[in-house]
């Protein structure tokens, strides 16, 4: 069974979202997603200052096996990306909720976070797969 931290929010497309109190959110892919994809070998991250709408394809994670899109869980502006992933894409496998974070958004509307799933709801999605 994969790890689903209680304090995070989730999407159906297997991104996690950590909400800060300043309207900033950190985003990555879940333990379940990294396990499905296998060993990561290349990560394409969004550009800083890029404006994203919720659901935009904004990043790509490539494992040895396949390439997979990562979607913006909420609308916002990219304020930081995890540059360590360029040389160490395996951080997503090793620590998907920590060192393997992907990018940070300054979100436009904090209320959008309420539309995301909590840990329990995400676990039920995982179980269906």
């Amino acid at each position: 069974m994969s790890n689903v931290p209680q304090e995070l929010k989730y999407t159906k497309s297997h991104e996690w979202v950590l909400a800060g109190d300043d309207g900033q959110v950190t985003i990555g892919i879940t333990d379940h997603a990294q396990e499905l994809l296998g060993d990561m070998v290349f990560i394409e991250l969004p550009e800083i200052d890029k404006q994203l709408a919720a659901g935009d394809e904004c990043s790509v994670v490539e494992s040895v096996k396949a390439a997979s899109d990562v979607y913006a869980p909420v609308a916002g502006t990219v304020i930081a990306v995890n540059e360590n992933l360029a040389d160490a894409p395996e951080l997503i496998n090793e620590d998907p909720y920590g060192e393997g974070w992907m990018f940070r958004l300054q979100i436009a509307d904090v209320n959008e976070l309420d539309g995301l799933m909590d840990a329990e709801a995400y676990e039920s999605i995982e179980a269906e797969e």
Partner: protein, 370 residues
């Protein structure tokens, strides 16, 4: 159709395999990390369960003449018992029905190893060509399992499980040659670009051998690493790098066609001769991505003169730590030419290189290419 399992299925589960469907078979894709498995084969030794592959025995005096007609390579080259030959089996149009290895066991016995994914059409084709003669009989051997033990330490570790007499026999086994020891078939072949053996044996014995290999620290390797290993070794994969719409001439397999003697009229010969006379428009090359990204199958390759080709299989190369591919490109393309590959809508720079990319653990790329 229920998914089939090999005799090693429980061993895979016990080793923590992630199981996937592969042509109707429940096979291990990896046992935790495809990359670690890849490196284990390049650096020490690993074992693959390839029992899903189709082992067919051809018995009788008529076997040789039949195979000389059925196959594009010529089994008449095989003079020593146990000697193996790689060949394509072609349609009348010169398309590839399957690629296979055939072993000459003795005058009355050839053993053929075909792909699992092409099983039904292979058997249908072979049976449709088989002469109705008491001098020839075909039998599938689904009760046999097959293990590929590969890597620089494969022979040493495998031999440590054998009697000293058998170990000597294995040590002396030339490449592409098989022998039988106590009813166990051992061939010095593989699909990784490393030294090693492929062992064909009854299912129960295969379970014992697997457990003994685990005990001497031979790592279990899934189909995921099998694909990256064979790609680095520049070995074509049926269904991606070749199929019934492509001939060996445009699949990097022209070397497997035995044109001599001229009077041998193998299936597909006329079509290939015509294609050759008309001039080939395409050929297979290696690609090395020089910019960041990962090459995959069916990506468009664009050259400076406006011409284009297509990747047939691509991946990340764990040994080179770069992305590589096989690609079918215009025949005029040369090693060293630069190109751009359309990766998900973006043009990424690559260079045409010779393949194999890796042999015996070492990069085959010239330093100026990397």
């Amino acid at each position: 159709m229920t998914a089939k399992q090999t005799p090693l299925y429980q061993q895979h589960i016990d080793a923590g395999a992630k199981i996937v469907d592969f042509s109707g078979w429940q096979m291990p894709i990896h046992y935790g990390s495809q990359l670690e498995e890849h490196h284990a084969v390049r650096q020490s030794a690993g074992v693959f369960d390839v029992s899903h592959m189709n082992v067919v025995d051809l018995h009788g005096r008529g076997g040789k003449a039949f195979l000389r007609y059925l196959l594009a390579n010529d089994v008449d080259k095989l003079k020593t018992p146990g000697k193996a030959l790689y060949s394509c089996m072609l349609t009348d149009d010169g398309g590839i029905i399957d690629d296979l290895i055939v072993y000459y066991m003795n005058e009355d016995w050839y053993r053929i190893i075909l792909n699992a994914g092409t099983h039904d059409k292979d058997m249908k084709w072979i049976n449709s060509q088989l002469p109705d003669s008491p001098d020839i009989s075909l039998s599938e051997r689904p009760e046999l399992a097959m293990l590929a033990i590969q890597g620089p330490q494969a022979i040493e570790k495998f031999s440590s499980l054998l009697t000293s007499e058998a170990a000597n026999k294995v040590a002396e086994l030339p490449v592409f040659q098989a022998c039988e020891i106590d009813g166990i078939f051992i061939g010095r072949t593989g699909y990784t670009g490393e030294d090693g053996v492929e062992v064909i044996l009854p299912g129960d014995d295969a379970v014992d051998l697997w457990q003994q290999l685990m005990a001497v620290d031979v790592k279990p390797i899934g189909l995921g690493a099998r694909d990256t290993l064979r790609l680095e070794a520049g070995m074509a994969l049926y269904g991606l790098d070749m199929d019934e719409t492509t001939s060996p001439l445009v699949s990097g397999l022209g070397w497997t066609l035995a044109w001599q003697p001229e009077e041998r009229g193998f299936i597909g010969r006329k079509a290939l001769q015509t294609a050759k006379q008309n001039g080939l428009e395409q050929r297979m090359v290696g690609l090395l991505l020089t910019d960041r990204g990962i090459l995959r199958s069916h990506q468009q390759v664009k050259f400076a003169d406006g011409s284009s080709g297509e990747t047939t299989s691509g991946s990340y190369s764990p040994t080179l730590e770069k992305s590589i591919a096989l690609a079918r490109v215009p025949a005029v393309v040369k090693v060293g030419d630069s190109c751009e590959v359309d990766i998900r809508g973006r043009l990424i720079s690559a260079v045409v290189v010779k393949y194999p990319f890796v042999r015996n653990g070492k990069s085959m790329l010239n330093t100026e290419q990397t």
